[in-house]
Point group: C3
Chain length 160, copies 3
């Protein structure tokens, strides 16, 4: 059977998102910045702000060095109890823009297990991502986590 270019692209994007989520969820935080190009944008932003065109993000990093700093401070500051996140994804949609750039969106769900051992819905929202082709494979040029949940239960210290 033949496979359309569209479906092949979807499979590659699903693979990228799966590896991204697995790195965070399985405590490989040091790998997290390597999913991005150096000149990148990462932000976590409430839906109200995104919809109103008032993009005041809760977290804002505009290069990969800031992502690496973030990991180091999370590992060493130790003022937060480490959360156990599990990310789930659905409704992935993507399209090529030019030869080496992909625009992608998807819904996400993050389940958090508290230090007391209770698992609960932590955050739901959508990713709006731009992915570019590099000689090391697909990397995020930008990743925006736009969350529905406005009652954020604990400090948003860990990556979404």
């Amino acid at each position: 059977m033949s496979l359309s270019a569209e479906i092949l692209l979807r499979l590659e994007m699903q693979d990228l998102q799966d590896r991204y989520m697995a790195a965070i969820d399985n405590d490989k935080l040091e790998d997290w910045p390597s999913f991005f190009v150096e000149d990148c944008l990462y932000e976590i932003i409430p839906k109200e702000n995104a919809d109103a065109g008032l993009p005041i993000p809760l977290v804002y990093c505009d290069n990969a060095a800031m992502l690496r700093d973030r990991v180091i401070s999370l590992r060493h500051a130790n003022i937060y109890a480490q959360p156990y996140y599990r990310h789930f994804l659905s409704g992935l949609s993507c399209r090529m823009v030019g030869d080496d750039r992909v625009e992608m969106s998807a819904s996400y769900l993050v389940i958090n297990t508290t230090p007391a051992g209770e698992s609960q819905v932590y955050q739901a929202g959508r990713y709006e991502d731009v992915v570019v082709k590099t000689d090391k494979g697909w990397r995020f040029k930008s990743k925006r986590a736009i969350y529905d949940t406005s009652r954020v239960q604990t400090l948003l210290a860990y990556p979404i």
Copy 2:
């Protein structure tokens, strides 16, 4: 590598479900009826009824015009606070029946974010769908959302 017809069909069905869920979750309600053929069936039905062969659905639409009416009334009646749904899917199973008809089932989870900004499990259940090939691509001939959750927390006004 070669791809079996079975796996290719799964990919096309996953793509259809992803686009369906994304339309609802990203507030493109007007696109929702276009996932169905004109002569269609859409229903939301409690598991107890489905299992007992007493198919008294909570929502019942037997053509696409009823789906379009539903969207218009949701947009204009405005008596409900608009929910923010996020749909998730798993366990997709499908098989061709004849040349242009697919029977499919899958588990679903809907996360709802309340007007107060809290995200919670809204409904879990399974889809039992029939999909047909049209000149505009795959469309739902019927979609039945059979829900486990009998304590439905708010009025089931929006599509599942």
Copy 3:
């Protein structure tokens, strides 16, 4: 378009996990043991124990006959209200080891609907699986469900 061996393997593993979850979630418990080879390992184990290298599992079955016994006792003992589970999977990662063996991990989420009809997060965690090629297709050689959730709300009688 061509498909890499890696992506084809992912699709086959996703299909296996989907059929496994669907069997449990759609009350086809009798099919559950047939996803394993006879000489298999199935366990459910808390994350703390797994991380500490103290693998004292909550559930431990080291052959398929034990799995079949488990199903029979669940069907006949009837001392538990039957749960309605819905499994969701993400972050699937897999690699071939030799010619006919696959190591796989993935995050899972189980939603349970209580007898009172409320759907809630029951358990989150990760699978660590070994899959082997048999003349009947891919089968689990071992499946370990390592759960984050330490406040397990009801008896872990049903398969994860």
